[in-house]
């Protein structure tokens, strides 16, 4: 892919998936210095100086760009790690993004483009096993001195004070753990955080869960409990009704019934389809939740959980499950613990956490874990495809770690809702 982009600059292929050949998703060379593999440092970013108003363009072909319209210099470009990018491609992309003139952003931009060339990097003295990400991070960190990481674990970005809509909460400097409220800007801030950490010499750890998770309760007024979740580009609303009396026709039972339903909107997938109920997901959601709910506390009654996938772009079911557990908690239903869920895709020798749709389509195998982190209990485990035992172990460990982190984000969302309503 990279070579192709370089040779035919005028016809940049708009989507990485349309390639006839499956792109080699991972390069073995891209192991990080600390020995962790590539999946742990998902997006790469290129950052250029700018201030005032920021516009974000979501481009169709996976690249995302952020620039200032009147000054026309690019703030940053992000791309999914499945795409390998070279200077020429970046140039093309920038032209597509709105006739950005390279000259204005000056030497710096060109520097970065040079850095992108792996050979050039090696020539410059970069250890071969470094990933591009690390190198670019380091390079850019020299240029961004104005960003400060305040003591109150809030990131403040003085140059970007216009972005007050976005609130970054709770930055744990140790492991680089972020809570983001606005995903596209969040990605950018992730990068910023890393730069800050580098600047301060706190650590070079890149957050493990790099996708942004956004959770909110109280999305649906009519329901007794509801939640909205956004992980990556997947967006989900779950509403919970009840507990209410079971239908007369049903048999007597001294435990409560859980009724789950997952459906898709017509516009959930890139190809406009028919929004419909998803039987398989519904039953899996049921299985994942029933272990966590204390069903004995509402005999003879039913709890209905309705999940609606607004936008489906990979790892839908894990998001639905996590969101549903939040909605249940919001509805005041007794549970042993919140349920967090994460999936991992396997590609040959590599693992990708929270795969996006394209990755899910091309995967060799998948693993989904649903667990109650504070009890360290698993409510559901789904494995498909071909897996070797050590890979499964690695995948599970990865999932459990990510679940614990996801649960932290979920808990802080709930905590906020509870303390808000206390007034």
């Amino acid at each position: 892919m990279a070579g192709k982009g370089g040779s035919t600059p005028a016809t940049y292929s708009p989507s990485p998936t349309t390639d006839k050949k499956k792109p080699s998703l991972f390069n073995e060379d891209l192991a990080r210095p600390d020995g962790r593999s590539f999946h742990q440092c998902r997006p790469a970013f290129f950052v250029f100086f700018a201030s005032v108003k920021v516009f974000i363009v979501n481009a169709v072909f996976g690249l995302r760009c952020c620039f200032i319209p009147n000054r026309r210099n690019i703030l940053w470009i992000a791309f999914p790690h499945a795409i390998q990018i070279d200077g020429q491609m970046l140039h093309n992309a920038m032209i597509l993004f709105g006739e950005v003139r390279l000259r204005e952003s000056g030497v710096f931009l060109l520097d970065i483009i040079h850095l992108l060339n792996l050979e050039a990097l090696v020539k410059l003295g970069m250890p071969k096993q470094w990933s591009i990400n690390d190198y670019v991070f380091k390079a850019v960190s020299w240029h961004l001195a104005k960003i400060t990481l305040s003591q109150t674990s809030y990131i403040s970005v003085p140059d970007f004070h216009e972005m007050e809509a976005l609130k970054v909460r709770q930055v744990q400097t140790g492991k680089g753990h972020l809570l983001l409220q606005d995903p596209p800007m969040g990605e950018f801030l992730f990068f910023m955080l890393d730069v800050c950490l580098l600047e301060k010499g706190i650590g070079t750890e890149i957050p493990d869960v790099v996708h942004c998770a956004v959770f909110r309760t109280g999305a649906v007024n009519a329901a007794s409990g509801s939640a909205y979740a956004e992980v990556g580009n997947t967006k989900v609303i779950v509403s919970v009704f009840g507990p209410r009396e079971s239908k007369k026709a049903m048999m007597y039972s001294d435990i409560g019934r859980l009724n789950c339903n997952v459906s898709f909107t017509t516009f959930a997938t890139p190809i406009r389809g028919q929004g419909s109920d998803h039987k398989e997901y519904s039953s899996m959601l049921h299985k994942a939740l029933e272990g966590a709910i204390i069903l004995e506390t509402f005999p003879k009654t039913t709890v209905d959980v309705f999940a609606l996938v607004l936008e489906s772009s990979g790892s839908d079911l894990p998001v639905v499950i996590s969101c549903a557990s939040l909605a249940l908690a919001d509805a005041g239903i007794m549970m042993y613990d919140l349920v967090a869920s994460v999936s991992v895709s396997c590609f040959n020798k590599n693992l990708v956490i929270d795969p996006v749709l394209e990755e899910e389509n091309g995967q060799d195998g998948s693993l989904m874990i649903t667990c109650m982190p504070s009890r360290y209990e698993i409510t559901q485990l789904t494995v498909t495809g071909e897996w070797s035992t050590p890979k499964i172990n690695e995948g599970m460990q990865l999932c459990l770690d990510a679940c614990a982190k996801l649960a932290k984000i979920m808990r802080s969302c709930l905590k906020e809702a509870v303390s808000d309503s206390q007034e």
Binding site: K300, M372, V418
Partner: protein
Amino acid sequence: MREIQLPLSQTQKVRLQKALEQLESLSTKVNSDASVIIADSIHVNHEDGVLKGHGTADLNGEVVATLCGVVERVNKLVYVRALRSRYKPEVGDIVIGRVVEVAQKRWRLEINYNQDAVLLLSSMNMPDGVQRRRTAVDELNMRCIFEENDVVCAEVRGFQHDGLHLQARSRKYGKLNRGQLLTVPPYLVKRQKQHFHHLEEFGIDLILGCNGFIWVGEHVEAKDDMIEDQVSQSDSQVLFPNKNCVSLEEQEKNYTILETRKYISRAANAVRVLSTLGFNITLEIIKGIIDLSLSMNLDIHDMLGSEFCVLVAEKEAERRSSMKKRR
């Protein structure tokens, strides 16, 4: 409760914020740090012994919460009071419900509880007011008393083996006509001495159901309606479902004058405003809001606008602070 969803202008936002802050500072709750979420461990002193109450569970010798809410402690008992949950009945509560089913010797009422409540025919005062055994004829004529979807006011009698039982052994209970039913979160209605209110100046009745159902309707004298029913019924002995036999006079009798209807809507909107702001719903506050809207010469529909909401919040803050000063 949640973020108040109103289209506010900047100044209104500031004013509302100020009022809410003032209210917050007035509240004397000390256990602000007691809010927990699911699987949080609750700090307890094990030496004194602990009684684990509702919303708690045991995990490796620790007490953990199974609900989101506030930790309450009564001597040894530790329990979690859920913030958002359905109504939890207590014996003697006055509730308003909607009939969902007419079954054998009983009505089933939806009262915002986990299960439907049961109102037995035998725990109802008969329309003729005579104490006697309920006969098979009475059972057949149950639909003449309450039909499906009727709104009924009753009192919680207690829990029997087959669920929650209600009773309506007084003239003041029974079917509610000619008014509006409003549903608010149950925690906004606190248990009081008096839940039936008659606002004489407006000629309306206000019933604050403990389950968060609130009735605003035209004032009815507790007696006449029932007795007339009984006379006509015992005369004819043939009982029609009451909907089909509405004569012209009856229609006239059912007519509510415009003035009263306006007051009903005004009171209903007052309740809606309180529910959006998340304030407790009591007679005085509702009266205050109605008076405020009247004194401002506000249209009924304007009461739901954001400006009025902000005004109510400010008035409430003022009222509570003045109450505090007096004390």
